[in-house]
């Protein structure tokens, strides 16, 4: 319903009330309300012209640029509300009150979202009189820009590429198996090589970076560690454990051709070991060990590595809680690691929801074993209701998780996974 129509309707209703109740006052109140829009129309005059100033030159993705809309008003006082139609850009221009016979400039900002050709397709200025009863519209022409990737975006892409290359190398089996101390060969440095392997003397002699290669023991055992803690089992439609189980099975079927593969499923307090073996029977045994049900609960989405509990408080909790009593803080993952007697290759599938324990355990494990972490990203698995608050929470959790993954990547290669990642893998294997 239009606001003016509402005022007219109220006026007529009051007149009707006056007529039916034989009371003059409501009739005159109604008449006054009918006259009011006439006075409003008399006071309103839309005579606005505007011009926009856009950022010049090629733009950079992710950066913000100023945008100016100069408004000249030769009519009555108006509120100017800009609406900007864009492609590949995010524009924010606040609304502004422009007095009669005045001139004002709306200062906004443009943020480039994607590279290539982006544009401001048009600007519609809604010119509204201060009471919000009448309005007029004004359209300004837009502009086309060329956007180039920013340095930060390039860095991000390089990191993604590096992660992908690392994942490809793992898939090809180049990283599987432990290297012995027997020297094999020298070769040119390639992107992604460990800096510690650079042979500085040879590099100086040949004028380029040279790395040392060692003989690999291919008959090493591969153990897939599956995190079966409560957080992994939580999920409304799909839990991370469902995804992780499929991933484990798919990994095992791929690795069993070349290696002896074992499985360790651990939870908060204990761990179950399936010793490493070769062959199809082992795949079946792994499949049977993966019959884990998920819990229909919402994920907590907490990824803080540091704890706010002090050492004294932790000791106290250790004494009070029966679960922790006598265990000296060790959880399932520590027990799982203690089950491996020989140096092995560990593929740890965990959502890093208990990062403190995992970090400590991996720090210890990498002294003896080679470790790779495959981590299903809980944010990508969130299947609850999405509202403004949840989105804000998810964004914060996502940022927290990015930091966490970076910390773990310093320690061991850590690959972040989403719910659709394994489908691609399975398709390739088949």
């Amino acid at each position: 319903m239009k606001r003016e129509d509402f005022i007219f309707a109220t006026g007529f209703l009051l007149i009707l009330e006056g007529y039916l109740s034989a009371n003059v006052l409501p009739g005159f109140l109604g008449l006054a309300l009918l006259i009011y829009p006439l006075l409003l129309r008399s006071s309103t005059e839309f005579s606005v012209s505007a011009s926009a100033t856009f950022p010049e030159g090629p733009l950079e993705v992710g950066r913000e640029y100023p945008i100016e809309i100069r408004v000249r008003n030769s009519g009555s006082t108006v509120r100017v509300i800009p609406r900007v139609l864009t492609r590949g850009m995010d524009v924010e221009v606040p609304s502004l009150m422009v007095p009669g016979n005045g001139e004002k400039t709306l200062l906004g900002r443009v943020r480039v979202l994607e590279k290539g050709e982006v544009s401001i397709e048009g600007i519609t200025l809604t010119v509204e009189e201060p009471r919000g009863v009448y309005f007029d519209e004004l359209t300004l022409e837009g502009a086309v820009f060329q956007a180039y990737p920013s340095l930060e975006e390039l860095r991000e892409e390089a990191m993604i590429e590096k992660n992908l290359r690392l994942a490809e190398l793992y898939k090809a089996g180049r990283f599987l198996g432990l290297e012995s101390i027997d020297f094999k060969d020298l070769r040119e440095y390639q992107h992604g090589d460990d800096f510690r392997r650079i042979d500085w003397k040879a590099s100086l002699r040949l004028g380029e970076l040279i790395v040392r290669e060692f003989l690999r023991e291919d008959n090493v055992d591969v153990y897939i560690f599956l995190d079966n803690t409560r957080e992994m089992r939580k999920g409304i439609k799909q839990a991370k454990i469902d995804y992780a189980s499929t991933l484990v099975l798919q990994l095992a079927s791929m690795l069993l051709d070349k290696y002896r593969v074992g499985l360790v499923v651990y939870d908060e307090v204990s761990a179950k070991l399936l010793p490493a073996r070769k062959g199809q029977a082992q795949l079946e045994a792994i499949r049977r060990s993966l019959g884990i049900k998920h819990e229909g609960k919402v994920m907590s989405l907490r990824f803080e590595l540091s704890t706010k509990i002090g050492p004294k408080a932790r000791d106290f909790i250790g004494m009070v809680l029966p679960l922790m009593k006598g265990r000296k803080g060790s959880s399932g993952i520590f027990e799982a690691l203690s089950l491996l007697k020989n140096p092995s290759f560990i593929i740890l599938v965990t959502d890093l929801s208990n990062p403190r324990d995992v970090y400590r355990a991996v720090s210890e494990a990498r002294k003896k074993h080679r470790v790779l972490i495959l981590s299903p990203n809980p944010i990508l698995f969130y299947s609850g209701k999405l509202d403004e608050r949840t989105l804000e929470r998810l964004y914060k959790a996502y940022e927290e998780r990015e930091k966490l993954i970076r910390r773990f990547n310093v320690l061991v290669p850590t690959i972040d996974l989403g719910p659709s990642d394994y489908l691609r893998e399975i398709a390739r294997v088949m």
Binding site: N23, V24, L29, L33, R41
Partner: protein, 178 residues
């Protein structure tokens, strides 16, 4: 804000405290204009029912009708503008409004000053208001008799329809929705 003060004063002049309720639509309009407008509708209907005026052709009744009607217009304007602080030029009306608690004519002058300071009376608007006054002046002898309230209201309705027709045919504006 000044609309609330005028509503209280005009209702007081009419011998009721219902005007104090005008603060509710005004406060609601600060939160959301349309909610304030809905509350204003309820307030206006309740106010109309609270004060009894049988004829507009007696001086005390005319004072009541004019003061309450003009206060209602200012209140509606306050609700639509959703402004807390009155403009400086509106403050000229304050002494008149305060005196209006004892002298109703002063209140009407104050209300007139507020409306004139806010809304521009163009030729068409002035002419339409003049038609309203003229219509009631011309029909004075015809409609001023005992129990003529419905007839007087019918005249108001007729003039109202005329005003609406003038409004709609005069300027073509796009209208804002709720």
């Amino acid at each position: 804000m000044i609309g609330v003060l005028l509503s209280i004063a005009s209702a007081y002049v009419a011998g009721t405290y219902v005007g104090a309720l005008s603060v509710i639509p005004w406060i609601l309009s600060l939160k959301r204009r349309d909610v304030g407008l809905l509350a204003f509708f309820v307030y206006a209907v309740y106010l109309g029912n609270s004060i009894e005026v049988s004829s507009v052709y007696s001086y005390p009744s005319l004072l009541v009708v004019l003061s309450v009607s003009l206060a209602l217009v200012v209140l509606l304007d306050d609700i639509l503008t959703s402004k807390v602080v009155p403009e400086r030029r509106e403050l000229i009306a304050i002494p008149f409004v305060l005196t209006g608690f004892f002298l109703p004519e002063s209140l009407i002058v104050g209300e007139g000053l507020v409306i004139v300071s806010r809304l521009r009376m163009g030729k068409i608007a002035s002419l339409s208001v003049a038609v309203v006054v003229l219509a009631f002046a011309v029909l004075w002898k015809t409609v001023d008799y005992a129990d003529s309230a419905p007839v007087q209201v019918a005249v108001a309705a007729a003039v109202g329809i005329f005003v609406i027709l003038v409004s709609l045919s005069w300027k073509t504006f796009k209208k804002c929705s709720f």
